[in-house]
């Protein structure tokens, strides 16, 4: 049984993009804030802090989740992936490159979250169709693009264009 006192900092250790990371967090510290302000991983964006906008979406143990609806102390021993982990030594990954090609981003605020949801979809349903892609995108608010370029980019990567 793990007990953590309120208002005190407690050690947290998990894997972030393949690297073991460690820090200290009060129980109430949101994972989104821990990533950004304690680990300097600013790729995860923060919009609404109540699960609606999707900007903070990351992957935990392979599943896309809202980082603003998790506490950092819950992550002990978990495998966390953020947008910083997507690109490979040769450059952008396929989804990132397709977004660039199809003008799937303008300000880029929503982009990291969208990439993390679409990457789970691609791992689990590599043949997902446009309706399924749009359904997943419905969990992300993009105020710039009107979604068209994002859908086109995803369709290319999912082999549908």
């Amino acid at each position: 049984m793990r007990y953590l006192e309120a208002g005190k900092r407690h050690s947290v250790r998990f894997t972030l993009n393949g690297r073991s990371v460690e820090g200290e967090a009060e129980p109430r510290l949101l994972l989104s804030d821990f990533l950004r302000h304690h680990l300097g991983a600013f790729g995860t964006h923060v919009g609404c802090e109540h699960g609606s906008c999707g900007a903070c979406t990351i992957r935990v143990d392979g599943k896309a989740v809202r980082a603003c609806l998790l506490y950092a102390v819950q992550m002990d021993g978990r495998v966390v992936e953020t947008v910083e982990g997507l690109a490979n030594p040769d450059g952008l990954d396929a989804l990132q490159a397709a977004l660039q090609k199809h003008h799937g981003l303008q300000c880029g605020f929503c982009t990291p979250g969208i990439l993390m949801s679409l990457s789970q979809l691609h791992d689990e349903e590599p043949k997902a169709d446009e309706a399924r892609i749009r359904d997943v995108l419905s969990g992300h608010i993009c105020r710039c693009t009107g979604y068209h370029g994002i859908v086109q980019a995803a369709l290319e990567v999912f082999g549908k264009s």
């Binding site: 049984m1 309120a6 129980p27 599943k63 809202r66 949801s117 789970q120 419905s138 969990g139």
Partner: protein, 271 residues
């Protein structure tokens, strides 16, 4: 948008969790997809969060005499993608597609949704439709007695929901699930779920302070020709509220339209 300070406890067993709930102003934390937003908004300020997600053995979907037993910590995404759920309770499978978004479904649990008791949530309505039995650390509560009102259930402060039992549907049962929401994944403005088999069951979601069975409307059903009359009765049987998202009149109208569609699919699917 930052939560107030709280103590955090991650018990390893249900006994430890129950003991921790006894004393303080404590709250159970499951998927956190309803609780954490409420804390971030500071609508709640519990002194202790009891995180039950590290308790083993509460995440499963298994056969129960032709029906299913489902562990309270089973995630929405697991329900949505379970072949057993799709085969035995296609109406539940269909409803899951309407529960929030992928990233929320990956985290939210069936137990959390039932215990949260949002009147517009799909799972409480489905529990009622499918005559679920809700097993807790103290007793077994029929779904009919579980939901008491907006965000209110029959659970005691130190009671934990552990398992959801869904009795098998009679062979040949037809079903329909119809929801209207402004965008995919939003909470329903209203939804109607129906089954036609040995009996007719109709449940309205988001139309009252809790999901309700529409018993009067059910009583009027005879065959396909009665569907319009049943839908009209369904509309009269609900008492929705007006809010930011829709007026009471509009919600009432939707219940009629959705009931007609759900009954039509259920009738066509029944044999």
């Amino acid at each position: 948008m930052k939560p107030p300070a709280f103590e955090y406890l991650a018990p390893a067993t249900l006994e430890e969790a129950v003991a921790a709930l006894g004393g303080e102003d404590a709250k159970i934390l499951a998927g956190g997809q309803s609780l954490v937003p409420m804390l971030n908004f500071r609508l709640l300020a519990p002194s202790l969060l009891v995180d039950i997600t590290r308790i083993p053995g509460l995440d499963y979907i298994e056969d129960w005499d032709g029906g299913l037993r489902i562990g309270a910590l089973t995630r929405h995404h697991t329900l949505e993608t379970s072949p057993l759920v799709r085969e035995r309770f296609p109406v539940l499978h269909a409803a899951m597609a309407h529960v929030a978004h992928l990233a929320i479904r990956n985290r939210g649990t069936i137990g959390g949704s039932l215990c949260h008791g949002d009147p517009a949530a799909e799972l409480p309505g489905l529990a009622l439709l499918l005559d679920a039995q809700l097993r807790t650390t103290q007793r077994t509560i029929p779904a009919t007695d579980f939901f008491e009102g907006t965000l209110a259930t029959a659970l005691a402060e130190d009671e934990i929901l552990t398992e959801i039992l869904l009795p098998a549907l009679p062979p040949g049962t037809g079903w329909g699930f119809e929801e209207f929401a402004r965008r995919s994944g939003d909470f329903a403005l209203t939804a109607v779920a129906a089954t036609i088999g040995a009996e007719v069951r109709i449940v309205a979601i988001g139309a009252n302070e809790k999901p309700i069975r529409l018993a009067k409307a059910e009583g009027l059903f005879s065959d396909q020709s009665s569907i319009d009359a049943v839908a009209a009765a369904a509309q009269d049987e609900v008492s929705p509220d007006s809010d930011l998202h829709a007026s009471a009149d509009y919600r009432r109208h939707l219940v009629g339209v959705l009931a007609r569609r759900a009954l039509k699919s259920a009738w066509e699917g029944a044999s």
